[in-house]
Amino acid sequence: MVAKFKARHGSGVREASTYLGQNFMIVEPSITNDVLQILRDEEQFDYCVDITAVHYPSREKHFELIWILYSFPRNQRIRVKTMIADGERFPSSVSIWPTANWLEREVYDMFGIQFDGHPDLKRILLPDGWKGHPLRKDYGIIQQDQEWVQINLGIESGQ
């Protein structure tokens, strides 16, 4: 399967290997959506388990986006990963798997990554007017949007 992707996309597939028995692929952001589409259509990865991100402030490209996919016919899992810079927009995969809707909203809420073509990209767990994205590494563990708390809850501090 990897050979097929390498033949089609050349150096776009940066790495494909296995760690602790789990397969993963690191691909360039520009071809990621094509790869996901092919994985669903041709390789039978019909179930998108999860979409998430990891913040690495020390790297050149801050965010790693991760798709965890599962195939019912093959009973296999694969992880697709890509690196994007802070503020970079990324095409949404809602058209590939509808479940990406809420999962992408959560990634946006927690990391501030914008998805192009998402039908309704807004915060999901935090309130709409909240400032900051909590799962970024520069967001403190007890940090809060004090202004929001004061205006909406009528208390001095949520701590």
Binding site: Y19, L20, Q22, D46, Y47, C48, V49, D50, T52, V54, H55, I66, I68, F72, N75, R77, R79, W97, P98, T99, N101, W102, L103, M110, P119, D120, R123, I124, L125, L126, P127, D128, G129, P134, L135, Y139, I141, W148, I151, N152
Partner: protein, 389 residues
């Protein structure tokens, strides 16, 4: 006042493609109503905004996050061991399953394996917990629909399971019963006897629930053909657990990718055909009986031996990442853990079954009646602690 509280509910629905009200029947008007977050039938703090045409639902939007505690952020600031009790607080009616998933994920990352006896104890407790979770679901779901008696019956019998938990580890709900590398506690004197007593006690009780509901005229009217979802929709929306199985997909992680000691036991995966609320009820009832079957096999063949693997005092998993998932009572519960080689996880992502399943609410209730929304929220079996984390 701020946006969230005073915002007009109708603005939430502006992005949805909704049908126009059918003006032929009397003078039906389009209506937007707000349900929750404080509503007894939403099983916690779930807010649903409904667009209605008279009694018919045209579309919905869920507003969640009222119970958000930042579990994933907390994980980054705790050691692997310290984070273990936090996972119990997500799906608090099935805390044992949460703990099992987390412990196994970290064990994989550390490349250690729990000893066989510990794995059997884990299976027994996890299956007991699945039963308790399904009993709680049945009681509250039936209560929502208007049948009050099942609630008293299921809570009475769930008590027996909670007593076993209490005797085993001192806690009834947030048990924190497993540790990374095995179990903290050896089974108490008479544990097997207590479990076997429960195994004889439970089947007639499940018969009792079925007598109340399975052929009950009102129950059939309220659940048959309500909230139907097809297998293709389930897969597209990532819906797992009993909801997926009731739509006819024979898929259970305990069989598909066995973990703990599940590969050693003989059990069936119950499935439905229509994917409606009634089928989901039947699937869960059969799952209760299958759980009893697994527990009986486990208790009869539980091996002797140690209950803890050799685990370093200070856990520093090698740099890398792992995704491990288990079949929780609600569906696929996954943990994605990234280690940077230090004592604290770099990132922990929880893939909660309730959160993903709740997304299917909209397509399940479209075209149905308002009263069916209650039935569908009940049948999805969500726990808001897990949805919001």
């Amino acid at each position: 006042m701020g946006d969230q509280i005073t915002k007009d509910p109708s603005t939430y629905l502006s992005h949805l493609e909704l049908g126009e009200p059918d003006k032929t029947f009397l003078d039906s008007n389009e209506l937007i109503i707000n349900m929750g977050p404080q509503h007894p039938a939403t099983h916690g703090v779930l807010r649903v905004i409904l667009k209605l045409d008279g009694e018919k639902v045209l579309g919905t939007e869920c507003v969640i996050g009222y119970l958000h505690r930042g579990v994933e952020k907390i994980a980054e600031n705790r050691t692997y061991t310290m984070f273990n009790p936090y996972v119990d607080r997500m799906d608090y009616v099935a805390a044992v399953s949460n703990g099992l998933g987390y412990c196994e994920a970290v064990e994989k990352l550390l490349n250690i394996e729990a000893p066989p006896r510990a794995q059997y104890i884990r299976v027994i407790l996890t299956e007991l917990n699945r039963l308790a979770s399904h009993q709680l679901w049945l009681g509250t779901h039936a209560l929502d629909i208007g049948a009050m008696t099942p609630l008293f019956y299921t809570f009475r019998d769930r008590e027996e399971i909670l007593k076993i938990f209490e005797k085993y580890c001192g806690a009834r709900l947030t048990t924190h019963s497993f540790r990374i590398g095995g179990c903290q506690y050896e089974t108490y004197e008479g544990f097997e006897r207590d479990v076997e007593k429960f195994l004889d006690f439970a089947p007639p009780k499940i018969d009792e629930y079925e007598e109340l509901l399975t052929t009950n005229r009102i129950w059939l009217e309220r659940t048959k053909g309500v909230g139907t979802i097809s297998a293709a929709d389930c897969k597209a929306l990532g819906v797992t657990g009993p909801v997926l199985r009731a739509s006819g997909v024979k898929w259970d992680l305990r069989k598909a990718q066995p973990y703990a000691a599940y590969s050693k036991f003989d059990f069936e995966i119950p499935t439905g055909q229509h994917g409606d609320t009634y089928d989901r009820y039947l699937v869960r009832m059969q799952e209760m009986r299958q759980s009893l079957r697994i527990i009986r096999q486990a208790v009869e063949s539980i091996p002797e031996g140690p209950i803890m693997a050799k685990v370093p005092k200070v856990m520093k998993p090698p740099v890398g990442e792992i995704y491990h998932s288990i079949e929780a009572p609600k569906g696929e519960l996954g943990y994605f853990i990234v280690s940077d080689g230090s004592t604290q996880p770099y990132r922990v992502r929880v893939r909660p079954p309730s959160f993903v399943n709740l997304q299917a609410l909209d397509i399940m209730v479209r075209g149905q009646l308002v009263a069916d929304v209650i039935a569908v929220i009940g049948t999805l079996d969500i726990v808001l602690g897990e949805v919001d984390r």
